[in-house]
């Protein structure tokens, strides 16, 4: 180890400035830590490397959870949205899922601006060569860059994305070492992580080609317009004024997306060239995500599907380039072009960038504890794709958790563990550290036991109190949170206290196909009808004009689904009690003969902290759980016998 002095003494260093890194840095700084955010290129802070969209099912909820914890993702999205849709609109507001296409450049610049507005947060350009490890070997004390700069820190969060030993594939012959098209990979850091005893594995992911929008025949495409309405990701609650008038000035002008499809001709081209694909030609052996499949995957695995939908998404206002969502591929560039030309509307299209597959190292996340700290090395935290996840939102959510816990550890405080019943972020982290991953992990509503009570509209209510308790929100932000809560309360009170005369809602109910009122009723009663919104009832009765629509949704859902929410909350209580049943850390699983062999091995390797965690380990059956409790009790009694 050189004796060169540290350039700067910091509390927390975050390596990588993507979606995990930026959120980790901001969260730690909000907790009062001195933070250094190190990236190999400051210009790429907040880069949307893959498709230019934030949100979607479950992911939109995570973006708003990150917002409630003071993160930057939602605010940057609000500033960069050029196309917005609320997915699942037909399935009831409980499962609405916001998704925003972003202007890539605007998003990136917004993130960098927000980062630079954060107190206590230094941005540093450099490529990390190695971690500095304390003389006793047990903990991390800083980092050194390839450029020879050294920084001291008491905790380091690594958010290396796809950069660790990253390798790009275009067809079977073209392999480029890189973490993203145009950026070099991180090799030395990966090698050092191996030496501290961490096990790594390989995943792959891919991107589609991008095209020149000026060469597209739009007359053959279906247009999909934005539904921006009145939606802020950041219940902005970090913005100065909630919108009630429908005006919208934060984001740029809206652009349409275009829908086309890959049909028989495209399928033929892919099939004929399948052995040239990096993935099918044998160049890549690692696993990719099933639910974000390459076009090769789609055609090989689902040969009977006649056509695969493609979305052409604008890259930004400053360019005509379009992102061909749905055509992720690792075929050679010439085949990609042939494939594009077979798509309706793209007959004469020019390909600006070829799609590619990228293979990268990840570290199976069961090597982490619930605070995302590496079990083998104190002070080292991992967040994002390095943990085997995919998706900007998943990365951001982990970043917040790692950032919070790194700062708490520096302070000497106990870690903050987010419950599954309280957030998708909690589900995400718990799944990672207790179940591990066998393919790139993406969030779904079906991963959560609490998909009715953990929603995008109530992220603030679920998490802001925790953020305030941890000291992460400024006084101004706290006032905004309080105002939001007051609005929800006001909406509920008004609904209970406002009476509606039949003639006030005659037209409204007629249009909703709902029965007319026999006599005057309270708004709260009528709002229980599925197709009558609380907002429309307030308009009809002339109350609650100053209440934000987002707050109205929260109040409305509590009316409409009260019984179902109550059930989930009972379930949450049960889970919490299970979570309260501790499993001794020294339990000799090998000796627990009443458990199945698989359960003995998995539990022995993972050492879950609570029975609730054990229950989510795959391969652990209900009988195993039952016997686990019995074994623990038996041992407890046996040791009591010894004492006696």
């Amino acid at each position: 180890m050189t004796s060169q002095p540290n350039e700067l003494e910091l509390d927390v260093i975050v390596v990588g400035a993507g979606h995990a890194g930026t959120e980790a840095a901001v969260a730690a700084a909000r907790l009062g830590a001195r933070v250094g955010l190190i990236t190999s290129a400051l210009e790429t802070i907040g880069q949307l490397s893959c498709n230019p969209a934030i949100g979607g099912v479950a992911k939109g909820t995570v973006a708003r959870e990150v917002d409630a914890l003071g993160g930057v993702m939602s605010r940057a999205t609000d500033l960069a949205t050029l196309q917005f849709r609320m997915l699942n609109r037909g399935k009831g507001p409980a499962v609405w899922a916001p998704r925003a296409q972003c202007d890539r450049g605007m998003y990136r610049r917004a993130v960098r601006t927000l980062i630079e507005q954060q107190q206590m947060l230094h941005t540093i350009q450099g490529t990390v060569a190695r971690l500095l490890i304390g003389e006793s070997g047990g903990r991390v004390i800083g980092i050194e860059t390839l450029e020879g700069r050294r920084f001291g820190a008491r905790a380091v969060v690594i958010t290396a994305g796809t950069f660790l030993r990253g390798r790009l594939h275009i067809g079977t012959d073209t392999r480029i070492a890189g973490g993203r098209a145009g950026d070099p990979p991180a090799i030395q850091l990966a090698e050092q992580l191996d030496t501290i005893g961490l096990i790594s594995a390989r995943f792959k992911t891919g991107t589609p080609p991008r095209i020149d929008g000026r060469s597209v025949d739009y007359s053959k495409l279906e247009r999909q317009d934005s539904e921006i309405e009145q939606f802020d990701y950041s219940w902005s609650h970090f913005w100065d004024s909630p919108r009630t008038d429908g005006s919208t000035t934060r984001h740029p002008a809206q652009l349409p997306c275009w829908i086309t499809f890959a049909g028989e001709e495209t399928k033929r081209i892919v099939s004929e060239n399948i052995n040239k694909s990096a993935m099918y030609g044998g160049a890549i052996g690692s696993r990719g995500p099933r639910y974000c499949p390459s076009v090769e995957d789609k055609i090989v695995r689902f040969p009977n599907v006649e056509r695969h939908q493609l979305f052409l998404e604008p890259e930004g206002h400053d360019t005509a380039e379009l992102y061909v969502n749905g055509l992720s591929t690792s075929l050679p560039a010439d085949v990609q072009l042939e494939m594009l030309h077979s798509v309706p509307g793209l007959g004469n299209v020019r390909m600006t960038r070829a799609g590619y597959a990228i293979e990268y190292d990840y570290f199976p996340p069961t090597q982490l504890d619930a605070s995302l700290q590496v079990k083998a090395l104190d002070g080292l935290y991992f967040a994002g794709q390095i943990n085997g996840t995919t998706g900007y939102e998943e990365a951001a959510g982990q970043g917040v958790i790692a950032g919070i816990n790194a700062a708490l550890a520096v302070r000497g405080d106990a870690p903050a563990i987010f419950g599954r019943e309280r957030s998708y972020i909690g589900v995400l982290v718990d799944d990672l550290v207790t179940r591990g991953v066998d393919e790139p992990y993406r969030l779904f509503t079906s991963r959560s036991e609490f998909r009715l009570t953990v929603r995008q509209d109530n992220a603030l209510r679920r998490l802001a109190p925790l953020a305030i308790e941890l000291g992460m929100l400024s006084e101004r932000e706290q006032r905004i949170v309080e105002r939001r809560f007051a609005m929800e309360a006001e909406a509920s009170t008004l609904a209970e206290s406002t009476s509606v005369r039949p003639e006030q809602v005659r037209v409204l109910l007629e249009e909703a196909g709902s029965a007319q009122l026999p006599h005057a009723m309270r708004v709260a009663e009528i709002a229980k009808r599925q197709n009558v919104s609380l907002a429309s009832l307030f308009v009809a009765t002339g109350v609650g004009e100053d209440i934000d629509r987002d707050a109205l949704i929260t109040a409305e859902l509590e009316l409409k689904y009260a019984g179902y929410f109550a059930r989930e909350r009972v379930q949450a209580e049960k889970m919490k009690r299970m979570g309260d049943f501790p499993l001794p850390s020294a339990l000799p699983y090998d000796e627990l003969r009443s458990l199945s062999t698989e359960a003995r091995q998995k539990l022995g390797a993972l050492r879950p902290r609570t029975l609730a965690q054990a229950s989510r380990v795959p391969g652990v059956s209900p009988n195993d759980l039952q016997n686990l409790v019995l074994e623990i009790e038996r041992r407890r009694l046996a040791s009591a016998d010894v004492v006696r």
């Binding site: 009831g92 499962v95 599925q530 003969r593 009988n623 039952q626 046996a638």
Partner: protein
């Protein structure tokens, strides 16, 4: 209950119990189970061979005096491949009073402890050798008093019911997954899932649950026995009939405690059915306090009866008795003309009697002579026919619900699935994702039944449902 009671104190002791009844018999089987079983075996048996699952002849000697106790067959088991899942030694010795008693004393002297009732099976459950339903089945198998109950218990022990519930659970999870897919992939090419696919799957699940529930009334009756009650005026020949029926069957006759004029109860088999035959006090208004208590007991039995035999020596007494029994129950009645050898009741009188009372419920007439035994066989057949009525016949390996706990859990699962179906096919407009909460609850009910548990329920689930006496 606190967690401390979850495991009985001494759960790590080595325990000993005589597995066979302690009467005069050719053989007695003694089981030794626990961590020290092999060590104790070694110190008392000569020769001793620890090889698991071998059977050999050996001499058991008193540890203190070195005197021979008995020569018998030894079977050695090593954990986890044994009934309890622990190390075990099983001794087959001569039966009777002395050999087993001396053997057990010798084992106790070497550090074993007398097993509590049911402790061996409890250990089997704790060690994952059985699930909850199978543990119940072992108790049922030992207690089986009829071939029907034996068959049902054997099927449940083989895991038929566990497997069926497991399948149902998988089907519900599959539906939950389909609904989740619809939410999670809003823009997939496949489009929304077909409504009729869900509806069909839901109806199938309900049909499966109904098929199981249909076995409950038969199953619970097979397990508990059908209550067949003999009622009638004092001196109407009830006790003679009781004795005659019991006399033709293998019976366990017990005095019912707590009554002054005891009702008598006997467990007998009538054709394939286990029957609790009850002889009651006379049904008539009485000034006598003692007798009145007896009558109250009788009324209680009649109210719970599966079939009531109303006894009388003549048409008038039968008619009165039928009328008073009918006020208490809607169960099918058999009018039994007792003393048929002494007094013949004319067929016209019987026809008149039946037509008078038939309007108020099911009624048949059979003449029986307790003295000669005439009419007993037709009577037994009539009872069996009435028990069989309105009950699902059981077939082969199909699982059967035998306990109230089974029925309650499945009824709850059914109502949840039905609630989901109503929302799915109805016009409430409630989103499917919200309705899916019902499926989740249904799954919870099934899991409860198989023994999938919440921590808080561990105690109740594991031990209150598992009779400690077995």
């Amino acid at each position: 209950m606190t967690r401390g009671t979850l495991i009985l104190p001494g759960a790590l002791d080595t325990i000993v119990a005589q597995a066979t009844a302690g009467a005069r018999s050719a053989l007695a089987v003694i089981r030794l189970s626990g961590p020290a079983a092999h060590r104790i075996g070694e110190s008392l048996l000569s020769p001793w061979r620890a090889t698991p699952r071998t059977v050999y002849l050996s001499m058991l000697r008193d540890p203190d005096s070195g005197r021979d106790i008995d020569r018998g067959i030894v079977t050695v088991y090593a954990a986890p491949a044994s009934y309890t899942g622990e190390d075990m030694v099983e001794l087959s010795l001569h039966g009777g009073e002395i050999c087993p008693a001396l053997a057990i004393n010798a084992l106790l002297a070497c550090g074993a402890r007398s097993a509590l009732p049911g402790e061996l099976t409890r250990r089997a459950l704790l060690n994952g050798k059985l699930d909850l339903l199978q543990a119940e089945a072992i108790g049922d198998l030992i207690d089986a008093r009829s071939r029907a109950m034996h068959d049902v218990a054997l099927g449940q022990l083989a895991g038929h019911l566990s497997a069926r519930l497991g399948t149902l659970r998988e089907e519900i999870i599959e539906m939950e997954a389909l609904l989740a897919y619809d939410v999670d992939f809003p823009e997939e090419d496949d489009g929304p899932i077909a409504a009729n696919r869900i509806e069909l799957a839901t109806r199938n699940i309900i049909a499966s649950i109904d098929a199981l529930l249909a076995t409950a009334s038969t199953g619970e009756m097979i397990r508990g026995g059908a209550a067949v009650v003999i009622a009638g005026a004092p001196n109407a020949g009830k006790s003679s009939l009781f004795n005659a029926l019991v006399g033709t069957q293998r019976a366990i006759v017990t005095d019912i405690p707590g009554t002054t004029r005891d009702a008598l109860e006997a467990m007998i088999d009538i054709e394939q059915w286990p029957v609790r035959l009850v002889d009651t006090a006379g049904l008539r208004a009485s000034e006598d306090v003692v007798e009145r208590l007896g009558i109250e007991v009788a009324e209680r039995y009649v109210k719970d009866a599966t079939v009531v035999m109303v006894c009388g020596e003549n048409v008038d007494s039968l008619s009165m008795a039928i009328a008073s029994v009918r006020r208490l129950t809607d169960a099918p009645l058999i009018a039994v003309g007792t003393k048929s050898d002494a007094e013949e009741i004319s067929s016209d009188a019987i026809t008149a009697l039946l037509s008078l009372h038939r309007a108020s419920g099911n009624l048949a007439y059979i003449a029986v002579s307790a003295h000669t035994g005439d009419g007993l066989a037709p009577l037994a057949h009539a009872i069996a026919t009435l028990i069989q009525r309105n009950r699902e016949p059981l077939s082969g390996d199909d699982p059967v619900l035998t306990r109230e706990r089974h029925r309650v859990a499945l009824t709850s699962a059914r109502s949840e699935v039905a609630a989901f179906l109503e929302i799915w096919t109805g016009s409430s407009g409630l989103p499917a994702t919200v309705a899916a909460v019902h499926l989740h609850s249904a799954r919870g009910s099934l899991e409860e039944l198989v023994g999938i548990l919440d921590v808080d329920d561990v105690l109740d689930r594991v031990f209150s449902s598992f009779c400690v006496g077995k």
